[in-house]
């Protein structure tokens, strides 16, 4: 065993071999990895090492080569969302070159500027827009150089198809001739003119993603497929209860499993082996004894815990009129909504390869924030930032911060301890149990109607875990177990947005009771907080509409002033063939299978994408099963960069959130997470996939906004509203499992009997 106290220095390879008793000449299995494919994927990027990484410099983002092709260095990465084509489309359009001549390098701290994490649906609206401005600056510079060479005024020239040529016609000069392999040496010019959207030839087109052919033929090299020579496979053994201390490790328990050996650093315990299967077997066989901790509230206790606190602060987020007085003066409708702890539930467990030797670290990671991870690894491993390079490779979709950064820290610890490059891939149970979780949310709503059936007063009271101010990152598991100091606290993403009704109301108050902690380590999960907030706000809007005896669409439209919002709302219900009438449906008291429709609307973050969702559902009154038959969505994210990629993001948001709403809740007791696989944490399956009707509104004259999150948010409320319409049952707790729907039916029947 290698015991390293307090995260001390690495052992040399010789010390390691001596300590672990590894025999020389062990057969190394697992060298034949398609490195050629990877080299093609990365396109000889190494040659550019040493270039500027400055995001205020054109050279930070672009290199024009002698052959006229262009390399684009993007700090934002493609997490499966299509940025890999969309950002080059934006750049190609502004430069004036075919998108096929642009090669993109993503999220490599040695090559790309830091554009912040690929999170919050900002890839296009911030990252892409920044790169577009760099491209416009570069194009103006190329025109300037050509003007000198051709002896003509710049105003007479244009950049088209990779060359600068006279607008009037005649010979031009290729980009390669103008600047090939030389630096621009220019700051981004915020005033560099952008092309007129009416003349776009590439932006907006459904250009096919370059990575799909390799992905569907098994050639694309994912993080999980990547290896380096001499690499060990590592697995980390997590404690049997959250917060447990390691009492003892029986090294002999893995004797005979290949050349597997134990690495222990305080409470951090891992195994490494030349062969991956040996590492897996050893991790399973290793006898480790842990203290028993019972510090969790358990999934069944979360709601009470959220009401009880401890709290850190109350905060008023919005105040208009006097909601409290108006509510006290009337007979308010009141309802509470609960959203459970959920996992990112990535298909591929998190993975990283780290080679930490000689005071330097190479990190390959699928992190959504490679630049942030670089700083984390440097801090944890006590290396200067310049000594750490993080290179992004595609992982399984993460939808927020899953275990990728944890896996990188695990691999760094094991690599430092062994002096070898180490690949760590989490097992399925690691990902489900230990990925940082989407935090729970509880919302109390109160509202009144005016005599003419409008919203009179509205109060939203949220109970939310409070993100720790200026916490640089989610605290990571491996370093915490290894006793390495790191900034502690919790991270959630911006979870208090959109707690307000997007409709006119004279008296509105939105406030939040900030909780000091969270039931399990949280992080940002797709559309942080806004899935649950929209669930509450748009369900409650429906409850008010029903109380007013109004059609839910008409009720919303009478209070909606934003033309773009009105348009997506109208387009959405038109897709479904919505007939105006109040909910519930006249057939709601029938027997057997109930049919209903519902809708919800969202103006994302109150200033970004507009989206509405409507759906038609069947509810089996006997089993409690919900079946979504048709799912409609109109979506306005301003200028559309790639029409098909936007559509794919909408589809993904809708289906993933349908899954989260119908099925998903992380189960845990006082000690640990018990939903550790796909049967205890089920997600949506093919037979449940509804017909989908999508309408993408393109607004070429508006700035491009995000499509990666917004369409997720109206799904739960639209579904709850449709179930209410179908059978009169109001679901206010997710997920909408059969058991929960049946229980709600029974409760409603009992209530109706009592009233009768």
């Amino acid at each position: 065993m290698i015991a390293v106290a307090n995260g001390g220095g690495a052992l040399s390879r010789r010390e390691f071999l001596k300590a672990s008793g590894a025999a020389a000449g062990v057969l190394v299995i697992g060298a034949a990895i398609p490195r050629i494919a990877l080299a093609q994927q990365r396109g000889g990027a190494e040659a550019a090492i040493g270039k500027t990484l400055d995001a205020s410099e054109v050279d930070g983002f672009f290199a024009v080569h002698a052959d006229g092709s262009v390399t684009l260095f993007s700090g934002k990465v493609d997490l499966g969302t299509g940025l890999r084509i969309a950002i080059p489309q934006m750049a190609a359009e502004e430069l004036g070159i075919d998108v096929a001549r642009i090669r993109i390098i993503e999220g490599d701290t040695g090559l790309t500027p830091d554009q912040g994490a690929t999170a919050g649906s900002t890839g296009i609206m911030r990252g892409g827009v920044q790169i577009r401005q760099a491209a416009a600056t570069a194009r103006e510079a190329l025109i300037g150089i050509a003007a000198q060479r051709l002896g003509r005024p710049a105003a007479e020239l244009e950049a088209v198809n990779g060359e600068v040529r006279p607008r009037a016609g005649g010979a031009g000069l290729g980009f390669g001739e103008l600047i090939g392999d030389k630096r621009f040496g220019l700051k981004l010019d915020a005033k560099a003119p952008l092309r007129d959207p009416s003349a776009y030839t590439m932006v907006g087109k459904p250009i096919k993603r370059p990575d799909v052919p390799a992905k569907v033929t098994g050639r694309h090299v994912y993080m999980q497929d990547f290896s380096v020579p001499g690499m060990l496979h590592g697995r980390v053994i997590r404690p049997s209860s959250v917060g447990a201390k390691l009492v003892s490790v029986d090294e002999a328990s893995i004797r005979g499993i290949g050349n597997a050996r134990v690495v222990r650093i305080n409470d951090f315990v891992g195994v490494v082996a030349d062969d991956e299967w040996d590492a897996i077997r050893a991790a399973r066989a290793l006898k480790a004894t842990w203290t028993k901790e019972e510090g969790l509230v358990g999934d069944a206790g979360v709601r009470d815990w959220m009401r009880r606190g401890p709290f850190e602060a109350d905060e008023t987020l919005m105040k208009r009129g006097d909601a409290r007085a108006a509510l006290a003066a009337g007979k308010p409708l009141k309802a509470s909504y609960y959203w459970p702890v959920q996992s990112h539930a990535s298909m591929g467990p998190s993975c990283a390869v780290v080679d930490l030797r000689d005071g330097k670290a190479m990190v390959w990671s699928a992190s959504q924030a490679t630049h942030r991870l670089r700083g984390i690894v440097a801090r944890l491993m006590q290396l200067p930032a310049e000594a750490v390079r993080v290179v992004y490779l595609d992982g399984a979709g993460c939808y927020g911060m899953n275990g990728h950064d944890d896996a990188a820290a695990d691999a760094a610890l094991l690599s430092r301890a062994t002096g070898r490059p180490v690949r760590v891939q989490w097992m399925r149970e690691d990902e489900h149990a230990w990925d940082p979780k989407g935090p729970p949310q509880l919302l109390d709503l109160e509202g009144t109607l005016t005599p003419d059936g409008r919203i009179g007063a509205w109060k939203t009271e949220m109970f939310l875990p409070r993100a720790t101010a200026s916490l640089p990152n989610v605290p990571l598991l491996g370093p915490a177990a290894a006793g390495i100091a790191q900034p502690m606290g919790i991270s959630t993403g911006l979870i208090s947005q959109n707690g307000n009704p997007p409709y006119a109301a004279p008296n509105v108050e939105v406030m939040v009771h900030w909780l000091k902690d969270a039931p399990l380590r949280p992080s940002n999960i797709r559309a942080p907080g806004k899935v649950a907030n929209c669930f509450a706000v748009e369900s409650f809007t429906d409850e008010l509409a029903a109380a007013a005896g109004r059609d839910p669409v008409e009720f919303r439209l009478q209070g909606l002033g934003d033309a773009r919002g009105i348009e997506v709302l109208k387009r959405t219900v038109a897709l479904l063939g919505w007939q105006p009438r109040p909910s519930p449906a006249p057939t709601a008291n029938g027997k057997g299978v109930a049919v209903g429709r519902g809708m919800a609307y969202m103006h994302y973050k109150n200033n970004e994408t507009y989206v509405a969702v409507a759906m038609e559902v069947e509810v089996d009154r006997g089993s409690g099963a919900i079946r979504v038959k048709r799912l409609a969505c109109a979506h306005d994210c301003g200028l559309v960069i790639n029409a098909d990629a936007v559509r794919a993001q909408i589809e993904g948001n809708l289906l993933q959130t349908l899954s989260r709403t119908l099925h998903e809740e992380t189960k845990f007791d006082r000690s640990a997470v018990s939903s550790r696989d796909w049967s205890s944490y089920p997600i949506l399956k093919f037979p449940e996939v509804p017909e989908m009707l999508i309408d993408v509104v393109d607004r070429p004259k508006e700035p491009p906004l995000g499509a990666g999150e917004a369409a997720a948010t109206p799904v739960p409320a639209a579904l709850a509203n449709a179930v209410f319409d179908a059978c009169g049952v109001r679901l206010r707790t997710a997920p909408f499992t059969r058991e929960r729907v049946k229980a709600a039916m029974v409760a409603m029947a009992t209530e109706n009997k009592r009233k009768a």
């Binding site: 098994g218 497929d225 298909m347 467990p349 098909d644």
Partner: protein, 158 residues
């Protein structure tokens, strides 16, 4: 350490492993460099590791290498290439039926096995065949369209 001779993508390959129970998935990925099949759960619950053995779609994470014998193994790499994709792969490209694409190996292999058996598979048969294949990105609709593209074009040149 035991050595096995496997028939993979039409070639005879010899592999030496430390454990006869080692799942085929790890042999393909680590010994043979065929990383198209992915580890997703190791439990046969997600389908990311699907390969064909004797023409049937099988979860390679649950198949001990010692049990394969002379049966013919086909992986996604053996189905087609980016330049010459199998009709199912071509349909996945046409429909852009992948987001992150981690699950897509299983989607392609399960669909190809279905269509080999039922070239005119209906949407219902497609959904049933893929019921054990999970996708987290929400690409199911495109995958259905890709399978339907092949089944409805069967007989003609798709």
């Amino acid at each position: 350490m035991p050595t096995y001779r496997l028939s993979v993508n039409g070639e005879s390959r010899s592999v030496t492993v430390s454990d006869p129970k080692q799942p085929l998935l790890y042999v393909l990925r680590n010994s043979l460099g065929l990383t198209g099949a992915k580890y997703g759960c190791g439990l046969g619950q997600c389908g990311a590791c699907t390969v064909h053995i004797g023409g049937k779609a099988v979860r390679s994470c649950l198949v001990p290498v010692s049990s394969v014998g002379a049966k013919r193994i086909t992986t996604i790499e053996g189905l087609g290439t980016p330049e010459a994709p199998h009709p199912v792969q071509a349909a996945f490209i046409a429909e852009q039926a992948a987001q992150c694409g981690y699950c897509v190996n299983g989607m392609v292999m399960t669909s190809a096995a279905l269509l080999a058996q039922k070239p005119r598979a209906t949407l219902g048969e497609c959904k049933a065949a893929l019921a054990g294949n999970l996708c987290r990105c929400g690409t199911q609709h495109r995958i259905e369209r890709a399978v339907m593209r092949v089944s409805q074009g069967a007989g003609s040149k798709a």
